[in-house]
């Protein structure tokens, strides 16, 4: 089975350069203030190359490819 990857943004590192949205419009658009909005879900095979490019070209290393099912929860 091939492991599915999804794009995740570190909101604190991200400073809104917008390269990722330029490189991968298929999955990433910019909000009203220039910060990336990622289409949720695993990246289809034909977009892996560009996704990796978007990750590598981020000037602040704020976007990454992670295993699709990633748990997040916060306590009080």
């Amino acid at each position: 089975m091939t492991k599915k990857l999804e794009l995740v943004v570190d909101r604190i590192k991200c400073d809104g350069r917008g390269l990722c949205a330029e490189i991968l419009p298929e999955r990433i658009r910019l909000d009203s203030w220039g910060y990336p909005i990622i289409t949720p879900g695993p990246i289809p095979e034909h977009l892996m190359g560009l996704s990796q490019r978007a990750v590598d070209d981020c000037p602040v290393l704020a976007i990454a490819l992670r295993r699709a099912e990633i748990h997040r929860q916060k306590g009080t």
């Binding site: 570190d10 009203s32 997040r72």
Partner: protein, 391 residues
């Protein structure tokens, strides 16, 4: 005879209960451990800091990742402007909180216990400091106090960890959550002070506690902190505070991350985390704010949105710029009157901000605004131009 209450014993107005009196009243502190974790799971106790996360689950997770080096953070930052219940408990029942902290430390095998108190809560700070000096040497060695800046986000669990770790009370990126990687990379249990006080009672009785601390604020005759039985109608809690001081318009339930309810529907609501969740509401940090009828809800909401925007730690763009834009649009409506464009922008921007911060600050603010626009739909739709501000 009903289950013990947090504020049983001497009147809170008499100041902190000393260790001797505390021990005489409640008896020795039982041992913590897996048994207690299971017990907490069965009682269904949920966090009283705001998020209402199941306590048993969180302790289990921390214990699993502990390796005997976990950290317990007692969260008494209480950055919520209207909430007073945490500092009230710290100034009246410090040892109940420390009992809970020690039980937590034993149950998750923690090496240190850090008590975080809002730096403005002077009485609470004094009370907790004195209480620590009354504990045994062994316990004192584990414990230390840090003061949290009086900022809204300082109460966030990752911000508390960051404060203990680096001395900077700003939220950090999660995952990993603190209960996996917290202080110094160790599994860290961040628990609200009231939650831990409940644990101290549950461990002694073996049964669930049946009360919750609420802060009744706003247009009531005697605002303050009250311990009410779970399931108490909201109206009764307001009566404890002397009842509305004037005609009331709506209730803000759960503080600035909470929801608005018209008084007509509010009085009968049961004060109980589970009961409220079924109604799409949340007790949050236990704030019950009464909005008087003479006050314009739109102006009130605009003021609160400005506050929440100013409390963004400016780390995540969507939160900082989004909340600022939302607050400005609300303020425009409040001051210059309703503009359909602004109403649309409020909806669009809410969608763009939701879920796009490292912490839950933007989400909480947006949910609060959405609830306000639902509850005060007509007021937002037909707001006249006037410059009355209420912050």
């Amino acid at each position: 005879m009903s289950a013990p209450r947090l504020l049983d014993g001497p009147s809170p107005s008499m100041g902190p209960e000393r260790l001797a009196a505390h021990s005489r009243r409640l008896g020795p502190l039982p041992k913590g451990g897996h048994g207690l974790i299971d017990l907490l799971g069965h009682t269904g106790l949920t966090g009283r800091g705001g998020a209402g996360f199941p306590v048993g689950l969180k302790w289990k997770a921390v214990a699993a990742a502990s390796r005997g080096a976990a950290v317990v953070i007692v969260n008494g930052a209480e950055g919520e402007p209207h909430s007073k219940k945490d500092r009230h408990l710290m100034t009246s029942r410090p040892h109940l909180i420390l009992d809970g902290a020690m039980l937590a430390a034993a149950s998750v095998r923690a090496k240190q216990v850090v008590i975080s108190v809002g730096e403005d809560h002077h009485a609470a700070l004094r009370s907790m400091t004195e209480a620590i000096y009354e504990r045994s040497d062994h316990e004192r060695r584990l414990m230390r106090i840090v003061t949290a800046p009086a900022r809204y986000v300082a109460g966030d669990s990752s911000a508390t960890v960051h404060l203990v770790d680096a001395g900077i009370a700003t939220p950090t990126t999660t995952p990993p959550p603190p209960h996996e990687r917290g202080v110094g990379g160790a599994a860290t249990l961040v628990q609200n002070v009231e939650t831990l006080a409940h644990v101290a009672l549950i461990a002694r009785t073996g049964t669930a506690t049946e009360t919750v601390l609420v802060t009744v604020a706003g247009a009531v005759r005697a605002p303050g902190v009250f311990e009410v039985k779970l399931g108490t109608p909201l109206g009764d809690a307001v009566q404890m505070a002397g009842g509305p001081s004037e005609a009331a318009r709506a209730v803000m339930l759960g503080g600035y991350f909470g929801r608005w309810v018209e008084v007509a529907d509010a009085w009968s609501l049961p004060i109980d985390p589970h009961g409220l969740r079924e109604r799409g509401l949340s007790l949050g940090c236990g704030v019950i704010g009464i909005l008087p009828a003479r006050q314009c809800p739109v102006c009130e909401v605009a003021g609160i949105m400005r506050y929440l925007a100013s409390e963004s730690s400016a780390q995540c763009g969507p939160c900082f710029f989004g909340l600022r834009a939302l607050a400005d649009a609300c303020t425009r409506i409040a001051e210059r009157g309703t503009d359909p464009g602004d109403l649309q922008r409020l909806q669009r921007w809410s969608g763009e901000v939701q879920g796009r911060g490292a912490c839950k600050h933007p989400d909480g603010a947006v949910m609060f605004l959405q609830s306000a626009m639902k509850t005060f739909g007509d007021d937002f739709a037909h707001h006249p131009a006037h410059l009355r501000r209420s912050a």
